[in-house]
């Protein structure tokens, strides 16, 4: 079992979700986060004062999957989120020690899907 954590551009969320659904990955958790990468980002201007170099808004996806879904999931995220510019984000893959579905108390692979 793997846990995939992806940091993507907020405006790419819809496309990534769509690609994931096509790959039959339907269970995702989404949160709004702030982060710093190499990207300089969009400059916001408030009463003439430019705000640059601040933490940028990103979307963080968490997806728990069985091993055979790993590559398709990575492909789907890349396909949905890639523009080729800095700031597209990153994907982290972690080994997942255990997964428990609270409702049934099932454990391991069956609990993921």
């Amino acid at each position: 079992m793997k846990l995939v954590i992806a940091i993507i551009q907020p405006y790419k969320l819809e496309e990534v979700k769509e690609e994931l659904y096509k790959t039959d990955v339907n269970l995702i958790t989404v949160s709004e986060v702030l982060g710093h990468g190499r990207q300089k980002g969009v400059t916001e201007v408030y009463r003439g004062a430019k705000e640059t170099g601040n933490l940028l808004r990103k979307i963080r996806l968490e997806i728990a999957i069985n091993d055979n879904y790993l590559e398709p999931t990575i492909k789907a995220i890349v396909k949905g989120a890639k523009t080729g510019e800095t700031g597209d984000g990153k994907i982290f893959v972690l080994d997942l020690a255990e997964c428990i579905r609270i409702r049934t108390e099932e454990r391991g692979s069956p609990a993921i899907g």
Partner: protein, 408 residues
């Protein structure tokens, strides 16, 4: 000159001005949070741009007693529009008080259209479109219905506070722009939900409050007619808000605050042309029924035809406005306003036909000219933002601002 009348009209003008920021919150709450500032900005910049347009050219085009079709240019820059009363419009208040009161109507009318093209229009294109629309659609129609010599006015059309000039007019323009601009992208998969419902409620409250100036102020005097307009305005809004809530309750099992607010606004729209001509029982009927018509428009007709009138500017303002204009032709009574006319239910069916013709003329004229203006702006500037800007949101891409921070 009457000091009481002057005071009431000035206060009413301020009340009507407040409706535009009220509308900004009403609409701003309905859009996604990445677009809330764009809507507030569009409403606010209209207050700036059209306040200037009105004193420079708009008032002359609308209200100078020219021929049947336009007012002419004699009052450009308020030349000759002074502080003495102008008896043909209002004999007891300074001419400029009448002018500034009318100016607030010219501001809010194009702001209503924003509801149709929200979340996808370029700011610059919006500015040019709005200015042209105010000059070539609002000002002429305003002259026809309200200006001395206007041909619909001479025919006896009744529009107390702007059901036709403001609401049907803006509503038809909304439908046309929604259709030609096309749907917001990704609409089927990701139905946008209002990002801040309390804003919608706040906006509705400000609209309801300001509407007393809109309708009761249209009496242009602090008199019995103003009181009649005040009472029926409140009554119709109340009936319509309750009616929409009940319809939802019956149909969906729960009444919502969004529905109740929509109903109240629909009721205010519908009573607008009738406020100075009908009494309180017709006002209740007008209010109860307008929610039925508008509910059908936004939940049945809109999905059926598939146009993306984002915030239901057509569904509420045009549909409610048409019902109000026709209802005026049914329920108007000379017992309420001796300067008005009787409607069909008071022995004068001809009035209903006059109202019907006025509605038809507005739909055709506004529809055609709005389409022409849209196409011109699209040709020279391009109306719609690109796909990436739409996905990122108009706040950031059109204004380089954001409404909400994440941490601080």
């Amino acid at each position: 000159m009457n000091s009481g009348d002057t005071a009431w009209v000035l206060i009413s003008a301020a009340l009507v001005l407040l409706m535009t920021p009220g509308l900004a919150f009403f609409y701003g709450g309905m859009v996604r949070r990445k677009n809330v500032l764009s809507v507030l900005m569009q409403c606010f910049i209209i207050m700036c741009v059209l306040s200037l347009q009105w004193v420079l050219v708009g008032y002359s085009l609308s209200f100078h007693p020219g021929n049947g079709f336009w007012g002419g240019l004699q009052w450009l820059g308020l030349n000759g529009v002074g502080l003495e009363p102008y008896a043909d419009y209002a004999g007891t208040i300074p001419h400029q008080a009448f002018m500034v009161f009318q100016g607030m109507f010219a501001i809010i009318t194009p702001a209503l259209i924003i509801g149709a093209f929200a979340e996808r229009m370029k700011f610059f294109a919006f500015l040019v479109f709005t200015l042209l629309w105010a000059t070539f659609v609002y000002d002429p129609l305003c002259h026809w219905v309200w200006g001395m010599g206007g041909w619909l006015r001479n025919m006896g059309a009744l529009d107390f506070a702007g059901g036709t000039v403001v609401h049907i007019n803006a509503g038809i323009a909304a439908l046309v722009t929604a259709i030609v601009l096309g749907k917001r992208s990704n609409l089927e998969k990701n139905v946008p939900t209002p990002h801040n419902m309390p804003f919608v409620v706040l906006g509705t409250a400000l609209l309801w409050f300001g509407w007393f100036g809109f309708n009761a102020g249209s009496a242009l005097a602090a008199n019995g007619l103003a009181v009649n307009a005040f009472v029926v305005t409140n009554t119709a809004a109340a009936a319509a808000g309750l009616s929409w809530a009940l319809i939802e309750w019956i149909r969906n099992g729960k009444a919502t605050i969004f529905g109740t607010c929509s109903g109240a606004v629909a009721g205010l729209v519908a009573i607008t042309p009738a406020a100075g001509f009908v009494s309180v029982i017709p006002a209740i009927i007008i209010g109860l029924l307008v929610s039925v018509f508008c509910f059908i428009a936004v939940t049945v007709i809109k999905p059926l035809f598939g146009y993306d009138d984002s915030l239901d500017a057509f569904g509420v303002h045009c549909v409610g406005g048409i019902w109000g204009a026709l209802a005026t032709g049914l329920f108007a009574s000379k017992l309420v306003n001796s300067a008005g006319a009787n409607g069909a239910f008071f022995g004068n069916p001809k009035q209903f036909l006059v109202q019907l013709l006025t509605v038809g003329v507005t739909i055709v004229y506004t529809g055609v000219v709005t389409l022409v203006i849209y196409k011109l702006v699209d040709l020279f500037i391009g109306v719609r933002v690109d796909e990436k800007s739409e996905a990122m949101g108009l706040d950031l891409t059109q204004h380089r601002e954001r409404a909400y921070t994440v941490l601080e």
